[in-house]
């Protein structure tokens, strides 16, 4: 009997290469970022940090500041909510375009593979869908915010648009993966009853995919609330804008209040998201 061949497993050589490369990367990066760990640990930097932290306390809890913090928090929350909503509305159609198993591949096309012309057209659609999603999600939210501020002016609205567009790209990619990984057996059965592609989508694909969609959307909301706070740096409203002002004018104690506000609202959204995910999925 022939000897059983051992399958290739990343062996010692590979681990050594990657490990070595990793260490080299680390050393190179440490040097270049002027990692002043020494100075960090030593007196000067530590002193600076302590001095600065001392300036932050106690947080400014005057009426005016609290009001600003409250307004900022509400605005930021609103930006994240509507932004996430827009994202889902954008992601759903794009995800459908970026799912090969709905366009030209897989079990729905086994009996009647689409003709060359149709296939080319569908491939193009897929390309457009995937390409758009990549574009949307690679450009960071803040850059989108800058772009939209340029286009529609200052305020929270460009923040909403930026979040919607960027997160739409991210969710679109995730949704597409869910759609492609759906269990094919019920789809085969539905096809055998003579159902059209649209009906198969609604009866077979979506019931499997929707819970995952909700889960991803809620998870992204947690990310978005943090991003929404940041939009303000470039003029897109919310807590970020007020933080920017506080820092520029050296209002450290007010800054502390605003940071507390961010902490509270982020924790709130995290909790809401976890609760909803547990209940709905």
């Amino acid at each position: 009997m022939a000897p059983v061949a051992t399958t290739a497993r990343p062996g010692r050589a590979w681990t050594l290469w990657v490990g070595g490369g990793f260490v080299a990367l680390l050393v190179w990066s440490a040097d270049a970022t002027r990692m002043d760990l020494a100075s960090l640990g030593s007196g000067e930097a530590l002193r600076q940090i302590t001095l600065y932290v001392a300036k932050l306390f106690p947080p400014d809890l005057s009426r005016a500041t609290l009001r600003e913090a409250g307004l900022g928090a509400v605005e930021t929350f609103a930006i994240s909510l509507i932004g996430s909503l827009f994202a889902v509305m954008l992601a759903l159609p794009l995800a459908l375009l970026a799912t090969r198993t709905l366009l030209y591949r897989g079990i729905l096309f086994e009996a009647r593979p689409p003709g060359l012309g149709v296939r080319a057209g569908r491939l193009a659609l897929y390309g457009v869908g995937k390409g758009t999603l990549n574009l949307l999600r690679t450009i960071p939210e803040i850059v989108w915010a800058l772009i939209f501020v340029f286009m529609v002016g200052l305020g929270p609205f460009p923040g909403v648009l930026a979040l919607g567009v960027h997160t739409g790209g991210v969710l679109g990619k995730l949704f597409g993966e869910v759609l492609e990984d759906v269990d094919a057996a019920p789809l085969e059965a539905l096809q055998a009853t003579g159902a059209s592609r649209f009906t198969i989508l609604v009866y077979g694909v979506l019931p499997q995919a929707l819970p995952q969609f909700v889960s991803y959307a809620l998870y992204r909301w947690e990310v978005n609330i943090r991003a929404a706070a940041m939009m303000g740096f470039v003029g897109a409203g919310g807590l970020g804008q007020r933080i920017y002002v506080a820092i520029s004018l050296f209002y450290e104690r007010e800054l502390m209040t605003l940071i507390l506000a961010i902490y509270l609202i982020v924790t709130l959204v995290d909790a809401l998201s976890a609760y909803l995910r547990a209940r709905l999925v």
Partner: protein
């Protein structure tokens, strides 16, 4: 009803699932297909229910060559064939009523299909079908909460709602409790007989095939090994069919020695031989 001429299916990697299958099935006939695992029975059924295309050969359904059908014609043809799978292939998260009414999807417009998900178009129809298969109370339950045997009945109810001319059952009882197997096979047989539907069934159990069907087709290595009435199927023929497949051979041995793994609950249909 069906006319198969030289059907051949070769899959992507070069695997020959069907070598050359030719046979004819008349309207209203009941035929059982037996053979060892990997013999090509499931592939044959997927070609027969029009979800797979043969590499060579022709399939004529009710006088029409399937390859010449338009896309719309293909869908209409599929509507006339109801399929029951080994693993039920139901949508787990939907309620039973929706899975049963899905039998209508070949007839309904897209809008109707959508609307029915919100409020079932005709729950009565689903309820009647469920009553026929013996589980009327499960209308609103979530499908993945039912047992395997119950889910199989839901699949049968769906086929009833679809009301096709042909029923294809691909190993409908292989993943079901053996005590239930007889019930389900007889249910399918009785339902088809009542409405004069053509019934083709893949069976793993030779005993069930021999006791419930008037025509047995043995498939092995993608070829038709024999096509006979049950009393003509000798033990030798069966041994040839299953040679090299130990588990099946063991089951065969029990049949040959007279022990019936199904406990003597067989009940032939009136009007059929044996």
């Amino acid at each position: 009803m069906y006319e198969l001429v030289g059907l051949r299916k070769v899959f992507r990697g070069g695997e020959v699932a069907l070598d050359s299958v030719s046979l004819t099935v008349g309207r209203g006939e009941h035929v059982a297909f037996i053979g060892p695992s990997g013999s090509g029975k499931t592939t044959l059924f997927r070609i027969l229910n029009l979800t797979l295309r043969p590499t060579e050969g022709t399939l004529v359904l009710d006088g029409q060559n399937v390859a010449t059908l338009s896309d719309a014609g293909l869908r209409r043809a599929r509507r006339r064939i109801g399929t029951i799978y080994q693993q039920q292939n139901l949508v787990g998260r939907l309620r039973v009523v929706h899975n049963v009414l899905a039998g209508n999807l070949g007839r309904w417009s897209a809008a109707a299909a959508l609307a029915s998900l919100v409020r079932p178009w005709n729950a009565d129809e689903a309820a009647r079908a469920l009553a026929k298969v013996g589980i009327p109370g499960k209308l609103w339950a979530r499908t993945d909460e039912l047992s395997g045997g119950q889910q199989q009945r839901v699949a049968i109810a769906r086929v009833l709602v679809q009301n096709p001319d042909i029923i294809l059952a691909d190993e409908p009882v292989s993943s079901v409790d053996p005590s239930l197997a007889v019930t389900i096979v007889s249910l399918l047989r009785d339902l088809s007989h009542e409405s004069r539907k053509t019934l083709l069934m893949n069976l793993h159990s030779v005993e069930l095939a021999l006791n419930y069907f008037p025509r047995i087709v043995g498939i092995r290595d993608g070829l038709v090994h024999f096509d006979l009435a049950p009393d003509k199927v000798s033990a030798d023929l069966l041994a040839e069919l299953y040679v090299g497949h130990r588990d099946d051979e063991l089951a065969l041995e029990r049949i040959q020695h007279g022990t019936n793994p199904f406990g003597g609950a067989c009940r032939p249909l009136p009007g059929f031989a044996r």
